[in-house]
């Protein structure tokens, strides 16, 4: 381990804002992208299920 304390770790030798600004924004944006992809997949599945339900009920009406 290269650091004596957490304070030292976060300070990054005076470059803390730049280093954590890079790592932090990268982590947040990648996490948001994952969430967005999941949300969009679930949304699509829900929509397809709804379409199926409508198709089935109208098929039953015809019988």
């Amino acid at each position: 381990m290269r650091w004596d304390s957490w304070a030292q770790f976060w300070a990054m030798g005076g470059y803390g804002v730049y280093v954590w600004g890079s790592v932090g924004v990268t982590a947040v944006l990648l996490a948001l992208e994952v969430l967005q992809a999941r949300w969009s997949h679930r949304q699509t599945l829900a929509q397809l299920q709804a379409e199926q339900a409508v198709a089935q009920s109208s098929a039953e009406d015809l019988m």
Binding site: V19, T26, L30
Partner: protein, 247 residues
């Protein structure tokens, strides 16, 4: 080598299942590699004698920049396949790649600005490397805007394929810009032809992070292409028979 029927795997129905089984593995690999890379880069790698701790931005900056270029080339690759063989999957793959590519291009510029400020004294300079990367970011945005503006899927895929292929000329320009022009941006730290100009432990941290980003991209693109397949094949009977789609 035996003849593999690639067209079989490229059929949306087959690929949907294949991608569904594959993406979790890539996600796990990405997580493990990122953890290892961050540990090595932030806990083990020594301080740089010129840039102090500030150089550690390299562990996200270089992998993000590499991926922004690799993803654009992948889009061009799928576009060529799409235009030549008219396979349905190609357009979907190109489209699934674009948002992640745009994100990495943005991160390359963002982390570059945060690195430029303390080292050069400027968030931004109009040098060849930075400008060509900015153009790459705009190409991604242009691709996304154009393909989402055209409703007809086939036409939209074709128009997108053209941007992807023509824009690919920008990728070697980014890569060689530090050689062809006098840039404030430094030359390549790692190249295929000569020994890397950085300490081994730093190099390994960076390569681990690059691999992590690569696998992240594969996992996410496979995941996203499944959503696109469902949307485009919504009227196909195989979609209606999927367990996850049955009401």
């Amino acid at each position: 080598m035996k003849n593999i029927n690639w067209f079989h795997y490229a059929a949306p129905q087959t690929f949907y299942g294949l991608a569904g089984r594959a993406w979790p593995w890539f996600a796990v690999l990405a997580t493990v590699l990122a953890a290892a890379g961050l540990w090595l880069g932030f806990a083990v790698a020594p301080t740089d004698f010129q840039q102090g701790e500030g150089y550690r931005i390299i562990f996200v900056h270089v992998p993000a920049s590499w991926m922004s270029m690799v993803i654009y080339l992948a889009m061009a690759f799928w576009s060529v396949l799409g235009l030549t063989f008219n396979t349905r999957l190609s357009g979907m793959m190109t489209r699934a790649l674009a948002p992640t590519g745009a994100l990495f291009a943005f991160l390359s510029l963002w982390t570059g600005a945060l690195w430029g400020k303390p080292m050069w004294g400027a968030w931004w300079v109009w040098d060849a490397r930075l400008t060509s990367e900015l153009i790459l970011f705009f190409l991604y945005l242009g691709y996304i805007a154009l393909t989402s503006a055209i409703d007809d899927t086939r036409r939209s895929d074709r128009a997108g394929a053209l941007i992807a292929i023509v824009g690919a000329i920008n990728v070697p320009i980014i890569y060689f810009s530090v050689k062809w022009w006098n840039t404030l941006h430094q030359g390549a730290s790692v190249s295929l032809t000569k020994a890397p100009s950085m300490a081994e432990i730093m190099l390994w941290s960076m390569l681990l992070m690059a691999l992590a980003f690569w696998f992240y991209t594969v996992a996410l693109v496979l995941y996203r292409v499944r959503t696109l397949i469902l949307q485009r094949e919504r009227h196909a009977s195989w979609v209606h028979e999927l367990d996850e789609v049955k009401p």
